[in-house]
Amino acid sequence: MQLGLRAKLTFAIAFLIVAFAGFFALYFPTQQEEAAATALRSRAKSISAALSTGVAKLVATDQGQVQTLLEDFAESPAVDRSDIASIVIVRPNGSPFARYPAHDDGKGYGPAPATGLTPDSPFRIDETDDMVIASVAIFPDREDSAFGILTTTLSQDSVRTARASGRASALVVAALILVIGVIVAWLVGGGIATPILHAARQLDAVSSTLVAAARDQEASSAEEAAAVAQTRRSMETLLDSAQQIADRSSEVLGNAERSTNGSRQIADRIGNLNELSEKVADILAVIMQVADKADLLALNASLEGTRAGDAGKGFTLVAAEMRRLAENVMESVAGIRELMKDMREASQAAVTASEEGTKSSTATTHSAREIALLTQEQRQATEQVMASMDEMGEILNHTLDGIQRTTASASQLTELARTLADIVNPAVTRQRHDSELEART
C-alpha cells in the first residue's frame, strides 16, 4: 500500500509526538523520582544534622534527655514523620544509646552505623532499595572521639510514591500530547499537503491545457507548413508555366520578327517590281508612240498610194499591212497595259497585304515582347513568392520545433504534476488511472 504525502507527514509528525510523549513519559517520572530521592536525602541529612547538634549538647549535659529529644523531635508537628523509619544513636562499641521509636518493632536498631566518620567528615548517607540511611558522628564539645553515631533512617516510600505519581502524570500528559499531537499532525499534514495537492492539480490542469494548446498549435503549424509546401509546389508549377510561356513567346517573337522581315522584303520586292513596271510602261509608251507613228506613216502611205491610182495599189496594200501591224502592236501594248494594270493592282494588293502583315507582325512582336516582359515579371514575382515561401517554411519549421519542444516540456510538466499529486495523494492517481482505464475500455 502506497502512502500519500499527507499520510506520511501525519505519520512523521505523529511519530515525533509519540517519541516526545514516550520520552516525556520516561523522563518525567525519573526526574520526579530523582527529585524525590534528592529531597529525601536532603531531609535525612537535615534531620541528622539538627538532631546531632542537639544530641551533642545534651550528651555533655544531660544524656538522659537524649531519648526524649529524639521522641520530641520526631513527634514535633514541624517534622513530617511519615517517612521516618527510625532514629538510632549507637555508641562506638555498638551498643545502642537511644532510639526512635522507643519500642523495638522487631527490626532491631536498623542498619549498622557507618564507620570511618571523623570530625572533618562526620556525615555519610547510604541508600538501600527501601531506605535512606543518614549517619552523623556526634562529637561533644571539642572532643576528638565521637560519643556515638546518630543514624536516621528514612523510608523510600515518598520516593516510590513520587515515582508512581510522576509516571501516572506522565502517562496522562503523554496521552494528551499524543492525542493533541496526532490531531495537530493531521491538521499540519493536511495544511501542508492540501495546498501542494491543490497546486499539483492546478499544475496538472495548466500543463494539460498547455499540452493541448501546444498540440493544437503544432497541428496548425503542421497544416500551415503543408499549405506553404503546397503553395510552393504551385509556385514551382507556375514558374514552369511562366518559363514555357516565355519560351513560346520567344519563339513567337522570333517568328513575328522573321515574318516582319519577310513582309518588308516582299514589300521591297514589290516596290522593285513596281519600278520595273514603270520602266516597262515607259517602254510600252515608247512602243506605243512608235506604233502610233508607224500607223500614221502607213495611213499617209495609204493616202499616197490612193492618190497614185493603180500604180499605188501595191504601196497601198503594204501600207495597209503596216497599219495592221501597227494596230496589232498597239492592241498588244494595250493588252500589256491592261495586264500591267492588273499586275499593278495585284502588286498594290500585295503591298497592302504585306503592310497589313507587317503591321500584324509588328503588333505580334509587340505583344510577344509584352508577354515576355510580363512573363519575366511574373517569373520574378513567383521566385520572390517562392523565396518568401521558403523563409516562411523555415520559420514554420523553427516554430514547429519550438512547439514540439514546448509540447515535450509541457508533457514532462504534466508528468511531474501527476507525480507530485501521486506523492501527495496516491488515491487521486489511482482514481485517474481507473478513470483512464474505464475510458479506454
Binding site: 502610233d292 507613228k293 500614221l296 495611213l299 499617209n300 495609204s302 493616202l303 490612193t306 492618190r307 497601198t316 497599219r323
Partner: protein, 142 residues
C-alpha cells in the same frame, strides 16, 4: 466621178461616236493632233469628248483660184478629228440613196451617206467644211 471609177478612196474618221468620211484625194497628210488645231466637231457644231492623244490632225489641200491667169494654187487646212482614222474605198453599193424631198444642200457639209456593214458614214463636202471652218475662225462674221 463615182460613175467612172469603180470605187473612190475615202478617209474615215470619227467625231465622238459618229463616223465621218471625206475624199481621201484631198487629204495631204495625217499627223498627230496639235493643241491649237480646230476640231471638226466645232466646225460641224458637235461636241467631242475624246482625249487629245486619240485625235489626228488632217491636212487638207485646198485649191485657190487666182482669177487672172486661170492658174490655181493650193494650201493646207488643218482640221482635227477623232480616231480611228483610216482609208476605205467606197463603191456604189456603199452609197445610201438619198430620200426624195430632201435637198442635197439641206445641210451643206454633208453630201451623202454610206454604209459599211453596220456602220453608217456621213460623207462630208470638203469645200463646205472649209467654208464652215473659215466662218468659225472669223467668229461667225462674214
Amino acid at each position: 466621178m463615182i460613175a467612172r471609177r469603180a470605187s473612190i478612196p475615202v478617209l474615215r474618221f470619227c467625231v465622238g461616236a459618229q463616223r465621218f468620211g471625206m475624199a481621201a484625194d484631198d487629204v495631204a497628210a495625217i499627223v498627230p493632233a496639235r493643241a491649237h488645231s480646230v476640231h471638226i466637231a466645232t466646225v460641224l457644231g458637235l461636241e467631242s469628248t475624246t482625249q487629245v492623244h486619240e485625235r489626228r490632225d488632217i491636212h487638207i489641200m485646198v485649191s485657190a483660184d487666182n482669177g487672172t491667169d486661170n492658174q490655181t494654187s493650193s494650201r493646207i487646212v488643218k482640221l482635227q478629228a477623232d480616231g480611228p482614222v483610216d482609208v476605205v474605198r467606197l463603191g456604189p453599193e456603199h452609197i445610201v440613196p438619198q430620200a426624195a424631198g430632201i435637198s442635197p444642200h439641206y445641210w451643206k457639209p454633208i453630201i451623202g451617206f454610206a454604209r459599211i456593214g453596220e456602220q453608217t458614214i456621213l460623207l462630208l463636202d470638203i469645200p463646205s467644211v472649209i467654208a464652215a471652218l473659215m466662218d468659225t475662225r472669223d467668229g461667225g462674221n462674214p
